[in-house]
C-alpha cells in the first residue's frame, strides 16, 4: 500500500477515456462501479468539452455483485450500440471490475457485436493514466489498421504523414497540432490524419498509407509508432518540437524523411523568441536558477530551452512517469544535475526547497508548492487545472510555441528593471520585501517584515533563534534580496560549520560569500 494525497496520474482507464474522447465515432464501454463516472467531469469541466465523453459505464452496485454484473455488462453493450451506433467499441474494466473478473473482452466477443471490438487489458494496480492511454491507442491501431492499405510509390506525389499522440485532456495538444500542421504545410507534407485527437476508426484503418509517422507525445503515441515501424515499415520522427532548437531539429528530421528542403520551414520562421532572449532586457535572466518537473517529454524539452535558449541555470530535473525515466536521466546527466524520478509530491517539494530555485517549471502541483514557498512558477506539463486549457491560441510546440513559452516563463519572474530597483531602493517602502514577487503581490497576504519571506521557511527553523548569528550579521543578511537570502543563509551556516566557527559575524558572512562565489 502507498499513502497518497495527490497523484500526478489517474488510473489507466482514464488514459483510455482520453483516447476514446479524443476520437470521433469511437465508444468506450467501461465495466465500472457506480461513482466512476466522476472522470467525465475532467473532460466537461477542465477541458470544457460541450459533449459528454463517449463512455458508457455499467455502474454496478453491491446488489448486482455475483452473476448479475456480467449480464449488466452485456445489456449495457447492447444498449450503447443501439443508441450511439459507434464505428468501433473499446471494452474494458476499471480497477474494481478488474477484481470481479467478468472478462469484458470475452463477454463482448460472445455477443458477436456488429461493430469492431477492441478489448483492453489495463492493469489498474500496476499502471497509470499515461500507460493506459498509450496501450489503448496501440490496441486500437493494432486491431483496426488494414494491412492491405499501404503507401504507394512516391513518384510525383506529395509526402504524407500520420501525427500520433495528441489526445483529449492533453496539455496544449489542441494548439500544438495547429503549429505542427503549419510547419508541415510549409514543407509541402500532407497529413493523413492526427490520432487519436479527431481521428475516426475509419481513419485508423488507413494508417498504412502514410510514408512515415510523427510522434508528438511519446507517452501516448510511441507504442503504436513502434508497431507501425515493424508492421508497415513506416519510420518515425521522434524529435519533440518544443523550443526553437528542437523545432529546427524536428524540421530537419521531417524534411530528411520526406525528401524536401528544410529551408522551406526554417527560413522566415516568424519566431520572435531568439531576439527577445538576446535583447539586453533579458540579460538579467542569465544564470537564474530553475527547477524543472513534469512528464518526461515536457521536462526534458523545458530543460533544454532553459539552458540553451534562455541562459538559465538548471538546478533540478525530474519526471513522475517512470516509463520515460531514461530520457530524464540522460538529460540530467547532460546538464549535471541529479535526476528526480518520483510520483510522490512530497519528495518533489523537498527537492525544490533544498535547491531553492528562483523559478519552478512544473505541473499544477509544483505551482502550489512554489506558491507555498513564495517562488515564481510557470506550468509546463500535465496535470493541469482549468486555466491551462485556455481559450486563446497557446501552443508549446513550434516557433509560436517558443514565443508562448518565453512570455509564460519570464512573466512570473521579477522584471529586470524591477529587480534592479528592488536592490537599489530596498529601504523604500514600495520595494520592501513585503511586496514579494510581482505576480503574487496583488492578492497574497502581506508577509511580516522579518525573515518569513524566505523561500524555504522549513529549513531555517533550526536557526530561527539566531543563536549563531550576531545581530549585525543578521541585519546584513536582511539586505540581501529575499529570493536568494535563504540560499545565502544556508551557505553561510554550512561554511561556518565546516570552518568550525562558533558564531556567524559579518566576516563569516562575507568569507562564505567569497567561498561560494562563482
Amino acid at each position: 500500500m502507498q499513502l497518497s494525497v495527490w497523484t500526478y496520474e489517474g488510473p489507466p482507464h482514464v488514459g483510455a477515456m482520453r483516447v476514446a474522447t479524443g476520437m470521433e465515432g469511437m465508444h468506450y464501454l467501461l465495466h465500472a462501479p457506480q461513482g466512476d463516472t466522476y472522470a467525465d467531469l475532467l473532460f466537461t469541466m477542465i477541458e470544457r468539452r460541450g459533449k459528454r465523453p463517449p463512455v458508457t459505464y455499467t455502474t454496478f452496485q453491491a446488489r448486482d455483485l455475483g452473476k448479475d454484473t456480467a449480464q449488466l455488462f452485456q445489456d449495457a453493450a447492447a444498449d450503447c450500440l443501439e443508441r450511439y451506433k459507434p464505428d468501433a467499441l473499446m471494452v474494458g474494466a476499471s480497477c474494481t471490475a478488474e477484481l470481479i473478473q467478468d472478462d469484458p473482452a470475452g463477454l463482448a466477443e460472445a455477443m458477436r457485436l456488429e461493430c469492431p471490438v477492441i478489448p483492453l487489458e489495463l492493469p489498474s494496480y500496476q499502471r497509470k493514466e499515461n500507460w493506459g492511454a498509450s496501450e489503448s491507442f496501440y490496441q486500437i491501431v493494432r486491431h483496426l489498421a488494414d494491412k492491405d492499405v499501404v503507401r504507394t510509390a512516391p513518384d510525383g506525389r506529395r509526402p504524407m504523414v500520420n501525427i500520433l499522440g495528441p489526445s483529449a485532456l492533453g496539455f496544449r495538444h489542441r494548439d500544438d497540432v495547429i503549429e505542427v500542421e503549419k510547419i508541415l504545410s510549409k514543407l509541402g507534407v500532407d497529413v493523413n490524419f492526427v490520432a487519436p485527437l479527431g481521428a475516426s476508426p475509419h481513419d485508423i484503418r488507413e494508417i498504412g498509407q502514410a510514408d512515415f509517422n510523427i510522434v508528438l507525445y511519446p507517452e501516448i503515441g510511441d507504442e503504436a509508432a513502434r508497431w507501425l515501424e515493424r508492421e508497415f515499415n513506416q519510420p518515425a520522427v521522434r524529435v519533440v518540437p518544443i523550443g526553437v532548437g528542437a523545432t529546427r531539429e524536428f524540421i530537419r528530421a521531417v524534411a530528411a524523411l520526406a525528401g524536401v528542403d528544410p529551408a522551406l520551414a526554417l527560413d522566415d520562421d516568424g519566431s520572435r523568441m531568439p531576439w527577445w532572449s538576446r535583447s539586453v532586457d533579458s540579460t538579467y535572466l542569465t544564470g537564474k536558477r530553475v527547477f524543472v518537473f513534469g512528464d518526461a517529454t515536457h521536462a526534458v524539452a523545458a530543460a533544454r530551452i532553459a539552458v540553451e535558449e534562455l541562459g538559465f541555470e538548471l538546478v533540478g530535473l525530474g519526471c513522475y512517469n517512470r516509463e520515460f525515466a531514461r530520457d530524464v536521466r540522460a538529460a540530467a546527466k547532460k546538464y549535471g544535475v541529479e535526476p528526480l524520478i518520483t510520483d510522490d509530491h512530497l519528495e518533489v517539494e523537498r527537492a525544490i526547497a533544498d535547491t531553492s530555485p528562483e523559478l519552478v517549471l512544473g505541473t499544477q502541483m509544483e505551482r502550489h508548492i512554489a506558491k507555498r514557498l513564495g517562488m515564481a512558477c510557470a506550468v509546463i506539463s500535465s496535470p493541469v487545472h482549468v486555466q491551462d486549457f485556455p481559450a486563446r491560441h497557446s501552443p508549446q510546440m513550434g516557433f509560436e510555441g517558443a514565443n508562448v513559452i518565453f512570455d509564460t516563463w519570464v512573466h512570473p519572474l521579477v522584471m529586470g528593471l524591477e529587480e534592479h530597483l528592488l536592490t537599489m531602493f530596498r529601504e523604500d517602502f514600495e520595494f520592501s520585501d513585503e511586496a514579494g514577487p510581482s505576480h503574487h503581490a496583488a492578492h497574497s497576504p502581506k508577509m511580516p517584515a522579518n525573515d518569513s519571506a524566505e523561500p524555504a521557511p522549513v529549513d531555517v527553523v533550526a536557526t530561527a533563534d539566531g543563536s549563531l548569528w550576531t545581530a549585525e550579521a543578521e541585519r546584513e543578511l536582511k539586505k540581501i534580496p529575499f529570493f536568494v537570502r535563504g540560499k545565502a543563509r544556508r551557505n553561510t551556516e554550512a561554511y561556518a560549520a565546516q570552518e568550525g566557527r562558533p558564531e556567524i559575524d559579518l566576516a563569516t558572512l562575507y568569507d562564505a560569500k567569497a567561498h561560494y562565489a562563482r
Binding site: V5, W6, G35, L42, A76, L99
Partner: protein
C-alpha cells in the same frame, strides 16, 4: 417529554389524505448512473471535523476522484488521504492488514494532532472483502487513549454521494456517550452544516428556550454529544437514513418535519423542536417572526427570475425533493421531474406531502433515458452534475450544477435568499450574455 410530541403542522400543500398523496407513482429506473460515490462526502466532512482524518483504503481511482473533487483544497494540508492498494497487496505477497497497520502508523506519526481516524472502505476494498471493521478495532486498541479509530464504507457499490456522510455519522453513533439516567431532555441536530449555519440554529434554539442542544457531527469528533431515551433529534439533511436508525436504536426520538430550506421549511423544522419541548406558541412566533420575514424578503429578490419557470432535477444528493418543494412553493417554480438517487419515504413524508401533485418523482437512474426526457421537456433549468452540465448547456439548456448545493450554506432563514439566488443566477446569466 416525549408525550408532548405531536405531528407538526404542514406548512404548505396540506392534504386530508396523507396516505394517498404519499403513494404517488414513482418512476424507478436502472441503468447507467451518473453520480458520485460516497467517498466524496469526505471533502466537506473533513472541513467540519477538524481533529479527524479520513484514510480511504482503495485504488488510484479513489485518490484521483478525491483530488478531482477537492480541487484546490488538496494542497492546504488536507486531513484525508488514500492508502492505494497495489499489485503485491492483491497477489498476497503482502498481508493487507499488516500493510494497513504500517500506513496508519506512518500517518499518525506525521500527524500527531489527529484524534479520530476514519478508515473508509471503497469498492476495491469491499470487493476483496478486506475487513476494515476488524482493522479499526485492532488499531483502535493499539492507539487507545490517543486516537479513536472507526470505519465506514464510502464505496460506489454501496453509497451515492451524500450517503457517505450518512455512513460516517452512523459510525459515530455507537461512540456517543450514554445519557445519564436522570438526564434532562436534550435536542440533537444531525447533519454536517457550515459553521455559520450551525451557529444561527443554535442561537434560535437558545432564544426558543431549548437547552441541551447537541450537534452531530461536532466540530471536534472527540466531543460527541450524549444520547439516550431523552434525546430528541432533528435531521438537518434528508440523506441520513442510517444515522437516524442508529440513533433510534439508542432510543433517541426523531422529530418529523420539513427540512430547513426556505422560510417555510425552516419555520416548520424549528416548530417541530419547539413543540417537542413545549415551547409556548406565542413565544415561538415572536422568536421566528423577524428572521422569517427577512428570509421571505430575501427570497423575493429572485422571484421575478424564477416564477413560472420549469425545473427538472437529475439525481445527485437526495436534496432534490426538499429543494423542489422550496422552489415550487416559495418561488412559484414548476418542478417537472424530480430525480433522486434514493427516496427515503419515511424521512421525506412531510416533504412529499408538500410537493405539488403534478411532479414526476423518479428514483435511481438510466441516464440516457433521463436525458431524453429532459431534452423532450426542455425545462428552463436542469439541476445536474458537472459531467452533464456543460453538454446540456451546449444543447441550449440552462443548468444549475448540483454539487454547489452541498458545498454552499443553504439551510435556515438567513441563507434562504442565497439559496434562491443559486437557481436564479444561471438564468440571469443566460439573459445577460450577448455572445
Amino acid at each position: 417529554m416525549s408525550g408532548t410530541l405531536t405531528s407538526p403542522p404542514i406548512a404548505v400543500g396540506c392534504s386530508t389524505n396523507v396516505v394517498e398523496r404519499n403513494e404517488r407513482p414513482i418512476l424507478r429506473e436502472r441503468g447507467q448512473r451518473e453520480v458520485f460515490c460516497g467517498l466524496t462526502g469526505i471533502i466537506w466532512l473533513h472541513r467540519k471535523m477538524q481533529d479527524a482524518f479520513f484514510l480511504v483504503v482503495g485504488s488510484r481511482t479513489c485518490a484521483h476522484l478525491l483530488q478531482s473533487a477537492a480541487g484546490v483544497m488538496i494542497f492546504a494540508e488536507p486531513r484525508f488521504a488514500t492508502a492505494i492498494i497495489e499489485e503485491r497487496d492483491l497477489a498476497g505477497m503482502a498481508d493487507c492488514q499488516d500493510e494497513l497497520d504500517r500506513v496508519v502508523d506512518q500517518l499518525l506519526e506525521r500527524r500527531p494532532d489527529i484524534k479520530t481516524l476514519f478508515l473508509v472502505g471503497s469498492c476495491p476494498s469491499e470487493v476483496i472483502k478486506m475487513d476494515l471493521a476488524k482493522a479499526a478495532q485492532r488499531l483502535g486498541r493499539e492507539h487507545a487513549g490517543t486516537v479513536r479509530i472507526l470505519n465506514y464504507s464510502g464505496s460506489g457499490i454501496e453509497t451515492t454521494f451524500t450517503e457517505g456522510e450518512d455512513a460516517c455519522l452512523a459510525s459515530l453513533v455507537p461512540e456517543m456517550p450514554a445519557e445519564s439516567a436522570d438526564a434532562q431532555p436534550s435536542l440533537l441536530m444531525v447533519g454536517s452544516l457550515p459553521d455559520i449555519v450551525e451557529d444561527q440554529f443554535l442561537r434560535l434554539f437558545e432564544e426558543l428556550g431549548i437547552k441541551n442542544v447537541g450537534v452531530l457531527p461536532a466540530r471536534k469528533a472527540c466531543d460527541l454529544p450524549a444520547v439516550g431515551p431523552n434525546t430528541h433529534f432533528l435531521l438537518a439533511q434528508p440523506f441520513l437514513g442510517e444515522t437516524s436508525r442508529a440513533l433510534e436504536d439508542r432510543s433517541a426520538i426523531r422529530l418529523e418535519a420539513l427540512f430547513p430550506f426556505g422560510a417555510e421549511g425552516t419555520t416548520a423544522w424549528l416548530k417541530a423542536a419547539a413543540e417537542a419541548f413545549g415551547v409556548d406558541e406565542m413565544h415561538f412566533n415572536s422568536v421566528v417572526a423577524k428572521p422569517r420575514e427577512r428570509a421571505k424578503r430575501a427570497i423575493e429578490h429572485s422571484r421575478a427570475q424564477l416564477e413560472g419557470k420549469r425545473i427538472s432535477f437529475l439525481p445527485d444528493s437526495q436534496l432534490e425533493v426538499p429543494l423542489a418543494r422550496f422552489l415550487g412553493n416559495e418561488l412559484g417554480m414548476e418542478p417537472l421531474e424530480v430525480g433522486t438517487p434514493y427516496l427515503h419515504r419515511g424521512l421525506l413524508s412531510h416533504e412529499l406531502n408538500a410537493l405539488p401533485q403534478s411532479v414526476q418523482l423518479s428514483e435511481g437512474q438510466h441516464v440516457d433515458k433521463q436525458l431524453d426526457r429532459v431534452r423532450e421537456a426542455r425545462p428552463d433549468l436542469t439541476v445536474c452534475g458537472l459531467g452533464l452540465a456543460n453538454p446540456l448547456e451546449s444543447e441550449g439548456l440552462s443548468t444549475k450544477w448540483a454539487i454547489e448545493l452541498v458545498f454552499s450554506p443553504i439551510h435556515g432563514f438567513e441563507q434562504a435568499g442565497d439559496l434562491a439566488e443559486l437557481f436564479a443566477r444561471p438564468l440571469r446569466r443566460r439573459d445577460v450574455l450577448e455572445v
